[in-house]
């Protein structure tokens, strides 16, 4: 920068002001400086800038369970897009639904003096919560709405999603109802939907007839396989609620392969309005969620807090039960 300043015949300070576009220079000065920046191919040093300003960097840490999931990918995409637009950089982490992994990552990321953090899924260790609260850094917890957040929370109400689907199934006259899930060892928010679902049944004095929760990760084949186990074990069921659409699709395929009609023999419902459902011959009954909206809302909330603008602590991202032809 010193070179640029000298070439432009101004002080480093003036060059700095021009480059950051803060007030305090004339049009003429700007032109001179910008010309030299171009000519010399000056690349600013954000490390030095972050260091010199002694506040925080423009880094935002974003942590998701896995990067290899289309649905979290979509959230990440919209977060990253929104942050980039405001000049922030995204540093990512994958915590694999482990609070310890998350804690290690947070300690690490904090050493970069990030402007804020976006964390997904609710299971923080006690140390993590204390650390972040003490640090006072803006934090948005996403995916699930956490009603007692470290700082802010933007998310879906997973319990209600499950509850609503429970009521819907009951309303369709189903009594023998099963549940299929995954990630038994590291439960994510699917477990909370299940809880809401079971709770709706309970309110109508209906017990979950049977359930199959795999240790594997959710996916098409997991749904296929779990459905096989479930039906072999429990015999005839009226309907099955799946952890998500991909598993439900696997279930539909299992039924198809065994000549079981959906929804005549067994009803099937999922969660998450995932893309794969678009090719099913029948429209899948599911809960529609907007991962794009979630990501953008979270990023906007974080930026607002970072800038000290007014911002609600809790924001629910709406979801909607979309009846299809499978249950």
């Amino acid at each position: 920068m010193a070179e640029v300043a000298k070439a432009a015949g101004v002080s480093k300070m003036t060059a700095s002001r021009v480059l950051r576009d803060v007030s305090g220079f004339s049009e003429e000065t700007r032109d001179k400086v910008m010309r030299e920046v171009e000519r010399l191919g000056y690349v600013p040093n954000r490390i030095a800038a972050a260091f010199g300003s002694e506040q925080t960097s423009t880094i935002i840490g974003v942590s998701v369970p896995f990067l290899s999931s289309a649905i979290f990918g979509s959230v990440l995409d919209s977060i990253n897009g929104a942050l980039a637009k405001f000049g922030y950089q995204t540093m990512i982490g994958a915590h694999e639904n482990s609070a310890e992994t998350e804690e290690v990552w947070i300690k690490n990321i904090l050493s970069w003096r990030p402007a804020g953090l976006i964390l997904s899924c609710h299971s923080h260790s006690a140390t993590t919560r204390e650390l972040l609260k003490a640090h006072g850094i803006p934090v948005v917890e996403i995916w699930n709405l956490n009603t007692s957040p470290i700082d802010m929370s933007v998310g879906f109400n997973h319990f209600d999603c499950g509850y609503e689907m429970g009521e819907y199934m009951l309303g369709r006259g189903h009594k023998r109802i099963g549940y299929v899930g995954a990630d038994a060892e590291t439960p994510g928010l699917g477990a909370l939907r299940r809880k809401g679902f079971v709770s709706a049944l309970k309110n109508a004095s209906v017990e979950l007839t049977s359930e199959e929760i795999l240790n594997d990760k959710s996916g098409f084949y997991a749904g296929f396989y779990a459905t096989e186990n479930l039906l072999n074990r429990s015999g005839v069921l009226d309907a099955i609620y799946y952890q998500d659409d991909n598993m439900a699709i696997g279930g539909i395929f299992y039924c198809q392969s065994r000549g079981i009609s959906v929804p005549e023999d067994v009803g099937i419902a999922g969660w998450g309005s995932m893309e794969a459902a678009s090719i099913l011959p029948k429209r899948l009954t599911t809960t529609v969620v907007s991962t794009q909206a979630l990501g953008k809302t979270a990023a906007d909330a974080l930026i607002a807090r970072v800038r000290g603008e007014p911002q609600e602590d809790l924001v629910i991202t709406p979801t909607r039960l979309a009846p299809g032809n499978t249950v």
Copy 2:
């Protein structure tokens, strides 16, 4: 750090050495320092460290077309895991198959003085290439093997994948062959597979009978829809090669919905060994690729170069045509 050093009764320098675990201190000193680090809850400042060391930071920039794709997500996951293990942080970017978007991102990320970059998909602007070469920063181009890389390249040979599938289809006796793709406006590597495929046909004096390349992004429904267009337009085809498995699955569903038998009436093949294919009643003929291997190889290559260890410039990640029952 000064506080820690004072509390431990040593100089800042000694504390720094202990924290970085470089040689030059006794066991006793380490214990004293570490005790104070714990007690005071010292969080190191990596910004200052990166600045002070005046080399580069431990940031690695990783750019992919989209974050919302399961397949690139999986690559990212394995890159991020490998980098994290060596103490590097991942800063992400999504270039959406646009060389200009990539260029903007690169200029930005360079200002963080990253230790290296991983770029995916081959279309760099001239400015980008010059900038990176001049900068001398370690760069790995992934996804496609780029035989004249900026620095290094780790990837699949997409042309060969297509070529091999072309030969395979011809070997099965197919003559009237179609192609289905997506991303017409921003072609990715699917375009290169198509080229290899067409080239194999040409070598046997077979012309591509018909093709349908959508402007949309690839996906299940895109495959469904494109197949409808293609078959309506071209009439009977022996076989169709799809840009990827998800589109091929969409194609299979279209056929199923119209009573077209696969592979009796029309053969179908995809690319990428994507998870969704696992639930098809018949095994999809496809090219098996390991995104995990790709990511890990790329990350390892970059780290080797960053550390000045010997490292090949070009590494091909193997792929394998896996015959199924759909073509």
